[in-house]
Amino acid sequence: MSTDHDTNEREYGLLAEFTNPGAVFHACEKVRDAGFTVWDSHTPFPVHGLDKAMGLKRSPLPWVVLVAGLTGASLAMLLQWWIGEVAYRMVISGKPLFAWQPSIPITFELGVLFAAFASVFGLLHLCRLPRHHHPLFSSTRFERVTDDRFFIAIESGDPKYDREQTRSFLASLGATAVEVIEDRDVD
């Protein structure tokens, strides 16, 4: 195990394992209250209220999506006006060259398309994904994060981080195991 590591080796931080959502929830509240900032919890599913227990702010994603949706809708209206009135003026079945009524369907559809792409790419950007290599993946224990185990990871970059103290702090929160994670990506 990691207790006999050299101090000059880079370490990512500490990983604490919990067996149920209640335990990780209360542990998160305590980690938050202890003033840690560079840390995260990892769970197989979104635990209800854990964002508040971690003290996270609301996601800004809705605003991004709103702007994207309005952009898409405006562009669609503009495109239909330009084709109808400017680029390809042709009277078909006695309809006006451009009218708002028949332009609504495509305006709506393109608004949704832009908004949907913004949701997905906005999500990926906010999560900094894809990221296929992460120090936490070096832990075998961590493989169960997508199954039935709950984790808290406090990074060594946290100002309050101290390997031994933080380790015993995490253990005191009911963690069933605490391990040191090395940062093999950074050389």
């Binding site: 959502p21 028949p102 997905v120 906005g122 992460h134 993946f137 961590f142």
Partner: protein, 521 residues
């Protein structure tokens, strides 16, 4: 005396997902735990491929071959090989198109609309239904694509600058279809994929072979269950559900515009948009019902796709079937009320003319057969559920046939009246489209988790961090939620039905083994 506030605060606060009346609780029977959910769902993929799967896959591939042949023959010869004539210029191609788009809508409804309404029973069937949506939209897109005849000029429907300086006609409902259906397909894939990311990570972490690990890993994008990610993820999922909801309504509304913006009696009527949407949900739910019944039997997932799911879907089928019946009745009533002889003729001809047989197939399948689900006994009988759902899909296909063909075959000019019969190439393309659908469905259940693993975990009692069950998996099996409630001694009829439905076979062997294993930890 206690104050009202105290009295109210003393009222028992039930477990999430638990319903004192019965009828809503016990989505996942067997008191599943996290590990058993993972292993049950992943087990479907990890187990050896069954003979049944191979048979289904081969039959589907065969049908897909028929599709390929029918399309190749059509493209080589032109649309004259179909049974269309003048005045019936729209035949099976549009019927099949509307049929498949409609099927797709239930998937979005289950995954998005029921999500917004916090109908937790959707969890469990949503992944499956979304997959169905995507494959149904693929089948749907096929028909308008091939019906243009000169398929190599298909790009003309998109506003692409070209040397002729020609642009598509944005006032045409058929162009709205191009946008609506392709955007619907795109958004459905995005929504489905976002839902899949955590489960792909699960598959990656369980993978035994390097190839599987790589394949799932690439698409899992390095997901690590971070709650800084979950937080955005949940918002993104909610937003996509919020976008997909009006989108699904708009798509079938726009499909209905194909007919309703015309001046043809039988096509032009203002109720068409919501009526088409209701019909789409109706047929889609019937298709989900059929597929779920097959999947729960084939993969032994009776404890995840519970009778409760089937019961709820049966209720939705009856509700939407009645809406469709309302629209049929309203069309007939207004045909009379309008005092317009052409309207009256179109509807009387529909019911009693040369296509009366199709009309009455439609009415009996769509309006009458789902009324069987008023009876609980029939709602809880797998055979009845399966057969009625097939009837509903037959009826909904005929609805589109009746709308398309009966409205066209009696032109305003009696000299051009005609009768439409499909050719073998019409039939080949339609039957073949089931091959495309079946092939995709087989590949899906073989390689991707057919149940949303991460989401399913959120609806079991142990997922609540504040509940008695959230504090340790040992508790999760010790007491039944009902014992906490003052009404626990009331007989729960719904509940009893669920339990009966399974007899003793609900526990799958891996689930029990894993439950034991987690207890010994």
């Amino acid at each position: 005396m206690a104050s009202p506030t105290e009295l109210l605060s003393g009222i028992a606060k039930p477990m999430p997902g638990y319903d004192p009346i019965g009828g809503r609780d016990q989505l996942v029977t067997d008191r599943a735990d996290f590990a058993s959910i993972t292993s049950d769902v992943a087990g479907v993929i990890e187990r050896k491929t069954t003979i049944g799967w191979w048979v289904t896959f081969m039959v589907s591939l065969g049908l897909l071959g028929i599709l390929g042949l029918s399309v190749a023959y059509l493209v080589y010869n032109g649309t004259g090989v179909w049974g269309i004539n003048s005045p019936i210029g729209w035949g099976w191609a549009i019927v099949n198109f509307v049929f498949w788009v409609g099927i797709g809508h239930a998937g979005t409804l289950i995954s998005a609309v029921l999500f917004l309404f916090r109908q937790k029973w959707r969890t469990g069937i949503n992944r499956f239904a979304e997959a169905m949506t995507i494959f149904a939209v693929m089948c749907a897109l096929l028909f308008p694509t091939i019906h243009v005849g000169r398929i190599w000029l298909l790009h003309w429907v998109f506003p692409i600058p070209n040397q002729m300086s020609a642009w598509p006609n944005f006032r045409s409902p058929l162009l709205w279809d191009v946008f609506a259906v392709s955007i619907y397909g795109t958004t459905s894939i995005l929504f489905w994929y976002v839902g899949l990311i955590p489960d792909l990570a699960t598959m990656r972490d369980r993978a035994k072979t390097k190839i599987a690990r790589m394949a799932y890993g690439i698409f899992a994008l390095g997901w690590r269950g971070s709650n800084r990610h979950w937080q955005h993820y949940e918002v993104a999922y909610l937003l996509l559900a919020g976008l997909a909801t009006p989108l699904v309504l708009s798509v079938h509304s726009i499909v209905s515009f194909d007919f309703a913006v015309s001046q043809l009696p039988g096509w032009h009527t203002t109720i068409f948009p919501p009526y088409f949407v209701a019909g789409a949900i109706f047929s889609g739910f019937a298709m989900v019902m059929n597929l779920v019944i097959i999947a729960r039997w084939a993969f032994k997932l009776e404890h995840i796709f519970t009778m409760k799911h089937l019961d709820n879907m049966a209720r939705v089928i009856t509700l939407t079937g009645s809406m469709v019946g309302y629209a049929y009745a309203m069309e007939f009533f207004i045909a009379y009320y309008s005092g317009n002889p052409y309207e009256s003729f179109a509807f009387v001809n529909r019911a009693f003319g040369p296509y009366a047989w199709a009309y009455w197939i439609m009415v009996s399948c769509n309006v009458i057969s789902p009324q069987l689900f008023w009876f609980k006994k029939l709602r809880n009988n797998i055979a009845v559920l399966f057969i009625v759902s097939i009837f509903v899909n037959i009826g909904m296909w005929f609805e589109r046939f009746v709308i398309t063909v009966t409205s066209l075959h009696r032109d305003f000019l009696p000299a051009s009246w005609d009768y439409y019969s499909p050719t073998i190439w019409d039939i080949g393309a339609f039957v073949g489209s089931f091959g495309l659908f079946g092939t995709m469905m087989c590949l899906f259940v073989r390689f991707l988790p057919l149940i949303a693993i991460a989401e399913l975990k959120t609806v079991i009692p142990a997922a609540d961090p504040h509940g008695a069950h959230g504090h340790g998996s040992d508790h999760a099996h010790s007491d039944h939620p009902h014992s906490d409630h003052p009404h626990s001694d009331h007989p729960h009829s719904d509940h009893a039905a669920v339990d009966q439905g399974h007899g003793g076979q609900g526990h799958s062997a891996p689930a029990i083994a894993l439950q034991k294993a987690t207890h010994e930890h």
